[in-house]
Amino acid sequence: MKHSFIALIEDKCTSCMLCVRECPAWCIHLDSHTVDVSEEGARRPKKVNVLDSFEIDYSLCMYCGVCIDVCPFDALAWDEHRALVTTNRDDMLLGIDELGPSGSS
């Protein structure tokens, strides 16, 4: 596996913020909201985080992999994608749609 990209497996992410807080480069931004989910037989609705946005700023990321290590749900993984070479810094800010693992899009 090449360590050229950090991919987000969106379904596994619980918006726990661990990666955002541990990132030494402060390059991960995450936004989410909480919804009530009613389950049959449950006394109270369950509170579930819904991921709104997840961005890695590849102009700051140093590929240390700390975010991958700390993720308790394996929602981040090394991938052989590559963040694009660009002259525009904004192009290096990748969101949920661009961060999928290779083969998924």
Binding site: S15, M17, V20, C23, W26, D31, H33, T34, D36, N49
Partner: protein, 165 residues
């Protein structure tokens, strides 16, 4: 590749003599000298200075290191090329090399604490908003849930009183 380097601990007062001894023993290639901050919040034992010397044909080499508090004898008189490394070490770690007049290398003298000391706080850490500080337990209608009295999260490496605002 796969080369094993030999390390040797030297007392700081023997530092100069040890390098003289190695130099006269054929270790005339002075590869590098640098510092390591061993502070780790334990106070003792301060800094280490590490130097790598080798024979010019690289048939033999040795890494020597020593514990220092704030100053160490300079070897620039013996090895002029060591000057660059010592000056770098001096301004990055605040270690004083005695016996020579050390000029600053790259940093301006007014720039504050040596940047590679663990005790130095990076100004950018305070000026940049920390993405991990976001409060997330917000319902779709804007209601906050969870424990509101929870202690505010603080980014690693930033002292508490830096976030008073």
């Amino acid at each position: 590749m796969g080369r094993v380097f030999e390390w040797q601990l030297v007392e700081s007062e023997d530092w100069f003599d040890k390098i003289v001894e190695l130099h006269s023993g054929g270790f005339t290639y002075f590869d590098f000298l640098t510092g390591v901050d061993r502070e780790n919040g334990h106070g003792d034992p301060g800094f280490e200075v590490v130097a790598h010397l080798a024979k010019p044909d690289l048939s033999d080499s040795l890494i020597i290191f020593t514990r220092v508090n704030s100053e160490l004898a300079s070897v620039t008189d013996l090895i002029p090329a060591a000057s660059w490394h010592e000056r770098e070490c001096a301004e990055m770690f605040g270690i004083e090399f005695t016996g020579v007049a050390t000029k600053p290398l790259l940093r301006h003298e007014d720039l504050g604490q040596p940047p590679l000391c663990k005790s130095t706080v990076l100004a950018a850490r305070v000026l940049t908003p920390w993405p991990g500080g976001a409060e997330l337990e917000i319902m779709e209608d804007g209601r906050k849930v969870g424990n509101a009295s929870r202690r505010r999260q603080r980014p690693p490496g930033v002292p508490e009183n830096w976030f008073s605002a």
